[in-house]
Symmetry: C2
Subunit: 560 residues, 2 copies
């Protein structure tokens, strides 16, 4: 059995290693056009940030992942700096070129694996060839960027406010760079988070000194007359000075070989594969960043390139090649990222996506400590939980904030996999000790609130809805139910604000008209919800409370 | 509607708060015999350790949870220092006594809630009344213990090596006390972890200077002739000097009132309740530490008193009282605890328990970094994963070590809730970024290894099995597949050890006899597994590898 694998970074070596363990005799060859193998692509932002000091760490640390390592330790052959030029399906060969010697030759395969990865998208615009314009593809690029910072580069424009944009942006802030993020969509991380969560993230970036320019694509990179980048200009004419420009607009699957070989390409423009990760040619498998995945909740094809998925693919491909039938069920849309002190993540569907699919969506936003507040170091994580009203099925979850929300993303990702409803999460027997969670874990608190809403016990107003109301001249009462001192120290800035502390509500409710809408708020939403319940008990049927209250309020311009 | 709640710590106030939100008009009264309400019982070890500096933090911090707080903020009445003497089911009243005035009176109820909690078990033995003998029931006790340490108490004996024993033991070590733990069973945390995991925990304690005495119960506490504790003696005559003795033998449900009222008591000796948390009297509910729970995996009744469960109970009871039919499905046996720098936990069934239930158990032990090893601060967590061979269903998981294993316990607890098999865990789309996990998350690596075993690809030897073999004069080869330098620096100490580095195995395999059993080992088990595969490929059908290898090896006396 001859297995040829094109791609030596993630899915490729994983496939090869698993194959070797399953079959001591198979002839396994990996080719890779770059000079670096199996590198830690996901570690590059951490290297730029100088959390990782040593370049070699990106290449395997003490044991560099070179051809010799794979030969002696893992038992398969790797040819680096060797490019696959063409797949010849009729002869079951791949024409490859040794990039050092220029020599070409044909390698035979019984089974071929495409693990060609993805590449950062470089938009067609003026100036992408200038000095100081970078994309972040492999450790060489990370090294170039880090060197530029070390040499004094201080004005950075990150083009693209997605996952990689956020991670690199964090690195630049941390390195003291004057940083601007440009995102063509109206919100940051547009595919990962809904507007209000993205806005909280943006506020955090702004608080760290980042400038955020949204709603118009970068249109050109201007030069300084000497071949160096000097500024980025958006299509609507905004201009950002920058001596370094990072193109982080997203990645595109490397499909040229597959296209040329006539393999089926999917609706996402990545290589189409079945659940065994076979392409339209049953002798050719594909995995990692070059293929599309099935979203387990929608059945839709999605392009979700992640190192974790690539590694799963490698195992599945090897098992199938060796006749151990194995399915890859798909992804749940999970993505997490660290942005300085914030832990951010998403899983499942965003509210926007769920609405577009026709779900009758119910959501809640709850800020909550990640562990018991009496243990020093406990921090808030702000959780948005999304469910379907009719079935109570959990649809998605997003987290932002200093607290450990990522742990809760894993819980929801697990629950989603099994089609859990909201009660399913509330019922979980999660690990509780004060150093790890609160007696009611943050995600279970979220689930409880969401159940209250579904059952008509709690009535929330989302920040987006309240913002629209504040912008209108609608009549309603915005009831700050905090103590007078808290209220005097600042809150929502609007003539419709009135302060009655929750514990005075039963004595002072007659200050409130019965027929007007009342929206209560406090710090995290607990008192606001209690106040809603008190008011409804007193006949105020239009009382609702502000989801997540001030802690989760995304629009600082409405605060005093 | 008059609801009377006996117990003002966890389940009681939670029930009352939820009731108030569901019904603004119900008459809700909580009685509590102690002078402290709603205190952070789980925080007490952290207070002793001085992680929590301020005593008031145990009582609610800035807002002390006293009767006034509940009245004004939560809208229900609490009478503290008021003891329930008797439930009169015929008249639907409870006779209560004001412990300040001695006055008794009868309080009427439509629905009664028993949230009477549990109390530390005080064994019948000589000396429990001596000065310096403590149990850890409420913050007063925590305060007394902390004061004793502050005043110079330095020799502590913790009687009981369960969850509370471990947590308090950690506190004492941290405070510089000379600490001994006494556990009557042959291993620490006997109901939570299997032998080898408990032994790893013990090794860690020993490395921190703790003395561990196992296998015989404490039989008496000796005095110094002045009424102070001076030593603890075990039934088999071992003696530990101690000027402070903590009784942490476990807690017992407070069922006196229920028993006297003729309510059904379950097989665990806690109050029996149905899934709506109703006792055998439909007008009397019970929740929190005084009731037994159903284990969702076995259907068995278990006594699993935890603050997290008590809070869930409170919600369920309130919903049912208010006619919102709500079930409490049970617990999964999850328990987590922090022991100095170690994060420990368990969920589901232990191997021992699973075997006793007749499962054909397959297990694996895998040490793995909690996040990418190239990010500073990544630490190993040692995971034991347990499954049923026939159905591949996940049965349980245990973690110990510095790494964040508790996060993985939550994932397994969630998966278990939905009856996941091992592949279900391997397939999860968990959040991956280098700061949060490895590309193959630690728990998914565990699941992959376990699948390999179930499929006959990997063949493990557990540390317990290998220990028995080392103690025998069986012939076999213990093959250290690490590099020669690593091997020379130390490993298993046995004449049957031979060193062939994994990468030399294909050249040197003829040094090994084909007919003998070969057990490979390395540092974490990865090279050992590869070596097993190589050897089997060469016809060594008796090759197996040591589960978890040296990193998870629990018996230091076999190491050199």
């Amino acid at each position: 059995m001859k297995v040829l694998i094109i791609g030596g970074v993630a899915a490729g070596p994983k496939t090869a290693a698993r194959l070797r363990r399953l079959d001591p005799d198979a002839e396994i060859t990996v080719i890779e056009r770059q000079d670096l193998l199996s590198y830690a692509g996901c570690g590059m932002p951490y290297y730029i940030e100088d959390i990782i000091k040593d370049y070699d760490q990106l290449l395997g640390g003490a044991t560099i992942r070179d051809a010799e390592y794979f030969e002696t330790q893992k038992g398969f052959t790797v040819h680096d700096q060797t490019e696959a030029l063409k797949i010849n399906r009729d002869t079951k060969t791949v024409t490859v070129k040794d990039l050092r010697t220029g020599e070409t030759r044909d390698l035979h395969y019984d089974k071929l694996v495409l693990a060609t990865g993805s590449s950062p998208f470089v938009p067609r615009m003026e100036g992408t060839e200038l000095n100081g314009v970078h994309r972040l593809y492999n450790p060489h690029h990370a090294e170039a960027i880090k060197t530029a910072i070390n040499l004094g580069c201080r004005k950075v424009a990150v083009v693209g406010g997605g996952l990689i944009g956020m991670e690199t942006c964090g690195a630049f802030i941390s390195r003291g760079c004057n940083t601007t993020v440009l995102e063509m969509m109206p919100t940051l991380v547009p595919n990962l988070m809904d507007e209000e969560m993205a806005q909280l993230l943006e506020n955090y970036l702004v608080s760290k000194g980042v400038k955020v320019i949204k709603g118009s694509p970068a249109a050109k990179i201007l030069d300084d007359g000497k071949g160096n980048a000097a500024a980025v200009e958006t299509a609507d004419g905004r201009r950002v000075e920058a001596d370094m420009v990072i193109l982080a607009i997203g990645v595109r699957p490397n499909t040229e070989l597959a296209v040329e070989a006539g393999l089926e390409i999917g609706p996402t423009r990545a290589i189409a594969v079945n659940e065994y990760l076979q392409t339209s040619d049953p002798d050719i498998y594909a995995g990692g960043d070059c293929v599309e995945c099935t979203h387990i909740m929608t059945g839709e094809k999605v392009f979700a390139p992640l190192g974790s998925t690539a590694n799963k693919h490698g195992r599945v491909i090897a098992d199938n090649i060796m006749g151990k039938e194995m399915k890859f069920p798909g992804v749940s849309g999970t993505a997490v990222f660290k942005l300085l002190d914030w832990n951010c993540g998403t899983t499942g569907l965003t509210e926007k996506k769920a609405r577009s699919l026709g779900y009758d969506v119910v959501t809640t936003i709850t800020p909550r400590c990640d562990y018991s507040s009496y243990i020093p170091g406990a921090k808030h994580t702000i959780i948005k939980l999304i469910a379907d009203r009719a079935t109570c099925k959990v649809l998605g979850c997003q987290v932002v904030g200093e607290g450990d929300g990522v742990k809760r993303i894993d819980v929801v990702a697990t629950a989603i996999k099994f089609g859990s409803n909201v009660k399913g999460i509330a019922d979980l027997d999660l690990g509780y000790a004060p150093a790890y969670s609160t007696a009611i874990d943050a995600i279970q608190h979220s689930a409880n609130v969401l159940r209250n809403k579904i059952q008509g016990i709690a009535h929330g107003v989302s920040p987006i809805e309240l913002k629209a109301k504040l912008d209108s001249d609608e009549e309603f009462i915005l009831l700050d139910v905090r103590g007078k001192d808290e209220c005097d120290a600042g809150g929502l800035k609007d003539p419709r604000v009135k302060n009655i502390p929750v514990n005075e509500l039963k004595l002072r409710y007659n200050e409130l008209p019965l027929d007007k809408e009342i929206i209560t708020y406090c710090v995290i939403g607990v008192r606001a919800y209690i106040a809603e319940r008190v008011l409804r008990g007193l006949g105020y049927e239009k009382a609702r409370y502000l989801d997540g209250s001030l802690t989760s309020w995304p629009y600082p311009e409405y605060l005093n």
